[in-house]
Amino acid sequence: MTPPERRLPGELAFVLFLLLFGATALWQATSISGLGSWSSPGAVPMLAALVMLVSAARVALATLRRPPAEVPSGSSLSREFAHALLPRVVVAFTLLIVLYMFALEPLGFVVSSLLFLVAGMWVLGSRRIVYNVVVSAASLAAIYVIFQTAFSVVLPAGVLRGLL
């Protein structure tokens, strides 16, 4: 038999969080309509939350039994966590997505998407700026025509209101 796998950095914290989440969900589900009737609106949510809590407990036990995450000397658990799960590029790209979503309405779909695409391609390591811009613009034009013109999905116009 192979020795049990080591825990991943942050795994224990994550499953403990899931356990807590399951417990909260169960508590919230019981407050929907209590235990009054077999066909109450809260019946299935309570069952689902209970299943979640029990399975989270089993996952937590299994995780606890495995040896802890490997932390080489000179490093720390949080550093290992950042290295394995949140490398810089993931954090940067996720932040970019968040910015994009908040810019979607004020700047409008076309402008915010263009900025996001060009910045995103740069962050992910494509350094041919002109190529990036051309690809982005062409794709956006296609998306715009399909959604807005053919399917009358009203995309946010933003700063270009009145021009498009």
Binding site: L8, A43, V44, P45, M101, F116, G125, I143
Partner: protein
């Protein structure tokens, strides 16, 4: 009968109807492939558009879009892991791993052929057995929908990956997400916390795109330095040997798809998941392990979801009852065009039935060349450098999510689900069960409660009802066998029985 034949071939002989059917099928493939554009949406838009047309023209266009659209959902599921429509969720499970292996071309080719095959089986059932099948569909009581949904949720077992407990957790999380919003039966709020946004629930497509697409984009960031696999596009049309091997499975899954499609309370998404489940249970030696690019994992859901299209026509044409959201819109269109969908439709306007059957056959014939063309170009999408492709996928996901209800909040949901899905994946949870839970959770909830209310809220009477009708009894037996067959006792007994005659 000669009249029926002439109506059957009506759209074949009129150049204009022929054109509309082909155009509809072509457009449908792309509507289906683009996440956020749904067949229901396209058909609803067309209805006001076709208002001044004659009803046959409208129906020809709609049939093409419907059939093409359900097929088209597989395209993005295979290439980008984003199911273009809920009916293609099961397709992503083995289709995307195939694309990662460089087999996107043959995966789409096989998908196309089995989709066409599935639809033909469904159309055949519609043509010869519509009245029988629609009366069978009526016999499904709320408790039977509950059994069906429980059967479907058992798929969690095979979607869990290494840890069953993690799969069960993910499935229950999905069910819970599906419960958010006003309860459809009593209008009481569940997990709404006074927020109006939450009263209408979590948008299903935002969850699908977030958990599948966005979480995959984030996970792919770990492999930026890996050059994308070269796609092998020499062989698009699947070789006869491969097809022949999968014919029995495709046939069985088409039967599943037709029946589930004909049920008024379940559609192509559930049909595809049930078929995938069926394939996993009955295939002893898949071409590869399921989840890693098994051809069986493509054949099953794709034949089932396309056979569910003619399946949904069955109750629509015979009883005026919609089999799913799209047929509901078509029924509205028939009313607007002065027809009266209902049990009299077949009697008062029998030509309409044969026109629809003939037209579906035609659309399905178009689907084969239209689906098989352009695959080489599509497969190349996967070869695009990740630094270019990943931001583009994200924009497409965002606009698709936004398009469902023109609601920017849905885009935030999508990102939240994407990040959650990313962490779940990283720690060995699968996202498949979450989506399964979101789709089946609401069905379980309402069917269970309807069945319980019908039994006057008495648990014993509720249980007793499962043995009062042949359909329930058959479903209970099938469910019991499915559950038992996963236990060791079963394997031991079967093993002993097998050995017995030999000794």
């Amino acid at each position: 009968m000669p009249e029926a034949v002439s109506y059957f071939f009506m759209s074949w002989t009129s150049p204009y109807l022929l054109f509309l059917t082909a155009a509809g099928t072509f457009a449908g493939i792309y509507v289906g492939a683009i996440p956020g554009l749904s067949v229901t949406m396209a058909v609803s838009i067309l209805i006001s558009f076709t208002f001044k047309w004659n009803v046959n023209e409208a129906l020809a266009l709609i049939a093409g879009i419907y059939l093409g659209g359900v097929y088209g959902g597989s395209r993005t599921a295979i290439l980008l892991n984003i199911p273009g429509a809920p009916a293609a969720i099961a397709t992503a499970l083995d289709g995307y791993p195939l694309a990662k292996r460089g087999e996107a071309g043959s995966a789409i080719g096989l998908t196309t052929v089995v989709s066409v095959l599935g639809a033909f089986i469904g159309i055949f059932a519609l043509a010869v057995g519509a009245p029988v099948l629609s009366n069978l569909a009526l016999l499904f009581a709320p408790r039977d929908y509950l059994l069906l949904a429980i059967w479907g949720i058992l798929l969690v077992g095979s979607l869990s990956g290494k840890s069953l407990a993690k799969g069960v957790f993910a499935g229950a999380l999905g069910v819970l997400i599906g419960m958010i919003g006003l309860d459809p039966m009593t209008a009481e709020g569940r997990f709404t916390y006074g927020s109006v946004q939450l009263t209408s629930g979590v948008p299903y497509v935002a969850a699908m795109i977030g958990f599948f697409g966005v979480s995959e984009v984030l996970a792919q960031l770990h492999f930026l330095h890996v050059t994308p696999v070269k796609q092998d596009v020499r062989r698009i049309v699947p070789p006869w040997g491969l097809l022949k091997k999968h014919l029995p499975l495709a046939g069985r899954c088409s039967a599943i798809g037709t029946v589930i499609g004909a049920l008024p309370g379940a559609g192509g998404d559930i049909a595809a998941l049930m078929a995938y489940d069926h394939a996993r249970r009955t295939t002893k030696h898949p071409s590869r392990p399921f989840g890693e690019g098994a051809y069986e994992g493509l054949v099953a859901p794709e034949s089932a979801n396309n056979s569910a299209v003619p399946g949904a026509y069955i109750p629509m044409l015979t009883l005026g009852i919609p089999g799913d959201a799209v047929t509901a819109v078509i029924i509205g269109a028939l009313y607007i065009h002065g027809l009266k969908p209902g049990p009299m439709l077949m009697i008062e306007t029998p030509h309409l039935f044969w026109f629809c059957v003939g037209n579906l056959v035609l659309a399905n014939l178009f689907l084969l060349p239209l689906g098989l063309s352009g695959i080489r170009i599509f497969a190349k999408i996967v070869e695009t450098p990740k630094a270019i492709l990943l931001p583009l996928i994200l924009v497409l996901s965002a606009v698709g999510t936004y398009a469902i209800e023109n609601n920017p909040v849905h885009v935030y949901w999508m990102l939240a689900f994407g990040v959650t899905g990313y962490f779940l994946k990283m720690y060995g949870f699968q996202v498949g069960p979450v989506i399964l839970g979101i789709i089946l959770g609401p069905l379980i909830d309402v069917s269970y409660r309807r069945a319980m209310i019908s039994a006057a809220d008495e648990p014993l009477a509720f249980l007793a009802e499962f043995f009062t009708s042949p359909i329930s009894a058959i479903l209970v037996a099938a469910l019991a066998i499915t559950v038992l067959s996963q236990t060791r006792l079963w394997a031991a007994t079967v093993g002993r029985l097998r050995r017995a005659p030999a000794t």
